[in-house]
Symmetry: C2
Subunit: 306 residues, 2 copies
């Protein structure tokens, strides 16, 4: 129930990190792209095929190191429905390899429409009584600007199908404070208010492991707020972007964790996907380079939470 | 530039309304579904084909009455990548028929990722120098919770490619006030603060027609706030959901318009798509029923703005 499956996978691998799969074409070695372009041309389909081949290699190399992957929907939508097909295939392949899959899509809408997004990404679509998984991820990132109506349909699926959501609370980008850091007339910041809403939304789903099905996205680039939120939201599991390429270091993410070193998962996307470029190794060994970086990141973060 | 193309189409048709294309299977007549299921089974592909056939019929019947359509992404994602292919085909077909297409996807993310969403939905994807339209809508709805970083990449495309965005300001759902109506310590509501951000983001893109490329989503279900925002945001074009099935009437949407009766477009989805059910007419005439409802809605709204 809730994030228990994720928490268990983190324990098994002693690794509270998630590999982001945000596959820009620039990140993909030429030999993979050339093979796809030869078959399908320099088209949306060609790009989508190259991305799937790249992802498969990464997943094969990472699946015994990391507990989870986080495909970012934008980098698939960018390649049209063909790219979205690659998203679906990537999710399926990662699940086959035992990984927990978080689709990072930051969906949000009014209740009736959110029901459709919930079914699409973490639930089932009903076609004349046939229940079909459209994308079938384990968890979805969402935006809570619309309030409870936009969260409720997700909770129903979290309870029924053992899934989770991560609500944007304090994001990792430079301008996140423009709205999120503003203070309300009760003296609370907007991000803290959103965080408190996460605790409320999740309260019926807290398990024996201490966390609910409603997690929060809190950026590593704001370690002070990360620490404040960790204390204020004891049942909210954190997804922490911003480590690595965005500037957050291992010390910055340390405040994400509770006193037992649990309660958060740290994302790295570019750092892992582009490790072969940073190492300047043979591009055919991109997946091994990704694995080396994932191991280094794991060890660095585990050492910081002691 | 900006929303000029939309404003022009509204003038030509004397109709400030947009037909929402949120095609639930329940809304589609049996004969269309049966034909698709016979070919493709009760599968994601079967459902996606039925939706495309339904949409084509609607677009054919509506294209000389309404200036624009608004497909809601959730109802396509629900049918997997096959559904997303139907979204792409629907956008293409609507554009061929001269309609302005607003993809209602409420996307949001940090800058680098928002660049990918912008390219996907209103711009071009670069594949080794080839520029390809992935979805190619004219405008996109977005969520501004992340601040300027998440809007800037869209503005670049709005300027370069003559497109527009609609930022969620005050949404139509019952719980929209939970965050949006809260007051900040400067006495402004969150929704008004977001509205002011829209004016700021759009200021370099205001055209001779008076509106910028940065519009706002403001629900018909909150007519008082609609009037307040219309006065406060003189250069922000409004997309107004909530008319019809959600409870907003023609009088409720009247405050959306400026003193010249311009500056807003009113959406109806279920009312138009399900007109055949409400009329209880021959399901084969669903498109004509949709057209009758679109004409009725046009006349009702035009009469209210004088």
């Amino acid at each position: 129930m809730s994030f228990d499956r994720l928490i268990q996978k983190i324990s098994e691998k002693n690794n509270p990190t998630v590999a982001g799969l945000d596959p820009k074409l620039d990140y993909i070695p030429d030999h993979i792209k050339e093979e796809a372009y030869t078959k399908y041309g320099k088209t949306l389909e060609g790009a989508a095929e190259a991305i799937f081949a790249f992802n498969k290699g990464l997943i094969d190399a990472l699946c015994d190191v990391v507990p989870a992957v986080k495909p970012q929907s934008a980098y698939y939508e960018m390649y049209g429905w063909q790219g979205v097909r690659t998203l679906a295939k990537t999710i399926e392949y990662a699940k086959q390899k035992g990984l927990f899959v978080i689709t990072d899509a930051k969906r949000n809408d009014i209740g009736a429409t959110m029901q459709a997004y919930s079914a699409a990404h973490i639930g089932h679509t009903d076609i004349e009584g046939e229940k079909i998984e459209a994308f079938g991820a384990d968890a979805l990132t969402v935006n809570g600007y619309l309030g409870t109506d936009g969260i409720k349909p997700l909770l129903d699926i979290c309870k029924a199908d053992d899934k989770g959501i991560f609500v944007l609370v304090k994001t990792s980008n430079p301008s996140s404070g423009e709205l999120q850091d503003k203070k309300l007339d009760d003296g609370q910041t907007v991000y803290r208010t959103m965080g408190d809403m996460c605790e409320t939304w999740g309260k019926d789903t807290v398990t024996a492991l201490g966390y609910s099905a409603v997690g929060a996205v809190v950026g590593a680039t704001y370690p002070e707020q990360l620490g404040e939120l960790r204390k204020a939201l004891p049942h909210t599991f954190f997804l922490v972007p911003g480590y690595g390429a965005q500037g957050g270091g291992a010390k910055d993410v340390a405040p994400s964790f509770d006193k037992n070193g649990k309660g958060a998962i740290i994302n790295s996307s570019r750092g892992i996907m582009c490790a072969w470029k940073k190492e300047n190794c043979d591009p055919h060994e991109y997946a091994q380079a990704a694995r080396r970086e994932a191991v280094r990141m794991r060890d660095e973060i585990v050492s910081c939470i002691g």
